[in-house]
């Protein structure tokens, strides 16, 4: 396999004076096949940060032979904002605002991870109502995030309609979350100790209405995209990741479960209200893009089931434990993780006793998915590359932090 360091990172065809016009540009390497003295070359193409389908600012440098990819290299960092460094100057109740902006389509999961880490450091017990509320909003966020994945996955294969139908359903969820937390995307709702405010009156009626309608909409979404034979031909058998490769690369979440390894943080390391909730965890078999699609569609259905259970079984009580206004956890370190929509989102906090963390590490599941791309892309076509990026559900905000 080509050493990625040998790939030139800028194709330079359009740069003035980048190369002598008499010789081929630096990015093209000669791979002679020698029929009657004809030589063929591999093209080095830049699927650059600006691209309609790289789910953010992902840069992929691929070496192609015609349309077939021979080697691929991911170049990350275009959305790096220094979240981990900024966290060293933020107090513990402000960390949620940073996590919201990591994986920004499933903000509640990031906030949940940060809150769990601080609660474990403080050894504070979260009241039942707060735990059930957190699970409720987390599962709603999971549905919202998977709807974006579903919409953009279809767009990557060329279908347009299902994207807007998914957005219609996502609008209902965002309206509910706006009524609960005050914002549609940067929620800042889950804090160490519980949540910021109680659920507003009348929200359970709205949520139940959404849940009752969503199953039928989900069937429609699956019939539109998954039932489409063209889509099935594009997606089935493509991009297989076996369980060993997935584990070696550190994949988690739906990507790992589709490869046959049934690891779900909500089952293995339960937190919040998940021990009391009744849900199934879908696990795939072959790890191709079709299995990842089916696993996520089923996860949406299970999340809907959990939302209904949370609304029906919401206990009474306080919505937050008593935590001091300025949190100064004892010295120590802790790692806490949640099952976010993209995998295992983890937070590793090292506290030195002051009101800001000494070191804050944010484990983002999409980083590992980006890296497994370099492994699975060779042998596929360029059209498959776009589709596989979509099937792994990569979110550049959390990858680059």
């Amino acid at each position: 396999m080509t050493d990625p360091r040998d790939l030139v990172t800028d194709v330079g065809l359009l740069a003035e004076g980048a190369h002598d016009p008499g010789s081929p540009p630096a990015g093209i390497r000669r791979a002679p096949t020698g029929v009657d003295g004809l030589t063929t070359e591999h093209l080095v193409i830049n699927m650059g940060p600006q691209h309609p389908s790289t789910h953010g600012v992902l840069r992929l440098i691929v070496e192609v032979d015609g349309e077939e990819i021979v080697a691929a290299e991911t170049s990350l960092g275009y959305l790096h904002r220094g979240i981990e460094k900024l966290a060293e100057t933020r107090r513990y109740n402000q960390l949620g605002t940073l996590m919201d902006r990591g994986d920004y389509v499933s903000g509640m999961h990031g906030e949940q991870a940060a809150a769990l880490a601080v609660e474990r450091l403080l050894e504070v017990e979260v009241p039942p109502k707060a735990r059930w509320t957190r699970s409720l909003v987390a599962e709603l966020t999971r549905i919202a995030s998977h709807l974006i994945w579903y919409g953009t996955f279809g767009l990557d294969t060329g279908a347009m309609g299902q994207f807007l139908y998914a957005m219609r359903d996502r609008e209902s969820i965002l309206d509910i979350l706006e009524a609960i937390s005050g914002a549609r995307m940067m929620f800042n709702y889950i804090r160490p100790g519980g949540v910021v405010a109680d659920l507003p009156a009348g929200i359970d009626g709205r949520i139940r209405r959404f849940c009752n309608g969503f199953d039928a909409y989900l069937d429609e979404h699956h019939a539109l995209l998954g039932g489409n034979e063209i889509f099935q031909a594009r997606v089935q058998g493509v991009g297989e990741i076996d369980a060993d490769t997935a584990l070696a690369f550190g994949l988690t979440g739906a990507n790992l479960r589709a490869s046959g390894f049934g690891w779900d943080v909500r089952r293995e390391r339960p937190y919040d209200a998940y021990p009391q909730l009744d849900f199934d965890v879908p696990v795939g078999t072959t790890g191709d893009a079709w299995d990842r699609y089916m696993v996520r569609m089923e996860e949406m259905r299970q999340a809907n089931r959990m939302v209904r259970q949370c609304v029906d079984g919401m206990p009474e009580g306080d919505f937050t434990a008593k935590v001091p206004k300025v949190i100064r956890p004892p010295e120590g370190e802790v790692y806490a993780s949640v099952e976010s929509s993209r995998g295992e989102t983890g937070v590793h906090v090292v506290s030195d006793g002051s009101d800001t963390p000494y070191r804050y590490h944010y484990r983002a599941p999409s980083l590992f998915a980006c890296q497994v791309l370099e492994e699975i892309l060779p042998g596929h076509l360029i059209a498959d590359a776009v589709m596989l990026i979509g099937s792994l559900d990569i979110m550049l905000g959390e990858t680059d932090r």
Binding site: Q94, G161, E178, V196, A197, A223, G227, Q232
Partner: protein, 158 residues
């Protein structure tokens, strides 16, 4: 039979065509915001029109990005006069931590979301200019006994 999925897909899109668009024609029609919606920070005033702010600086300390800034002049009798209460709305992320931190219910997250301006100077303005800060004692006495400012948060409840 191969192809039934394609026909079903066409039927689904046609059904959605018949359902009609869900577009809200902004700015001619606007959606109603929920009570807790967090947008630009605005000062609150008491019944006689005076600002409730006591210049205690709790919001300035609570803000993660140092958006709020109070320029205060303290007189001999410990009463405070607010020269400028500067608010950089262009950099504010509307997280609501300032409103949660205020012990006197003197600021709120308004529902003003049409914040686009053409002049960069307008991206920062004063919430309060050249006013006397309320007295902390009087402000606390006015609050009804049942209301606990520290436990509630997240924006104005009517």
């Amino acid at each position: 039979m191969w192809g039934t999925g394609l026909i079903k897909g066409l039927a689904i899109t046609m059904r959605n065509l018949a359902r009609g668009p869900i577009t809200v024609k902004y700015p001619y029609e606007k959606l109603e915001l929920p009570e807790r919606a967090r947008w630009a920070v605005a000062p609150k005033f008491d019944a006689s029109g005076n600002p409730k702010c006591t210049a205690c600086m709790a919001c300035v300390r609570a803000c993660p990005d140092y958006i709020l800034d109070l320029e205060v002049h303290t007189a001999q009798d410990k009463s405070k006069h607010v020269e400028h209460f500067r608010y950089e709305v262009g950099a504010c992320m509307m997280c609501g931590l300032c409103v949660e931190a205020c012990p006197f219910d003197a600021i709120e997250m308004s529902h003003d979301y049409e914040l686009a301006v053409t002049d960069p100077e307008a991206l920062a303005y004063d919430l309060l200019t050249d006013v006397d800060a309320a007295s902390p004692k009087r402000a606390r006495a006015e609050k009804p006994a049942a209301e606990k400012p520290a436990a509630e948060g997240g924006g104005p409840d009517a």
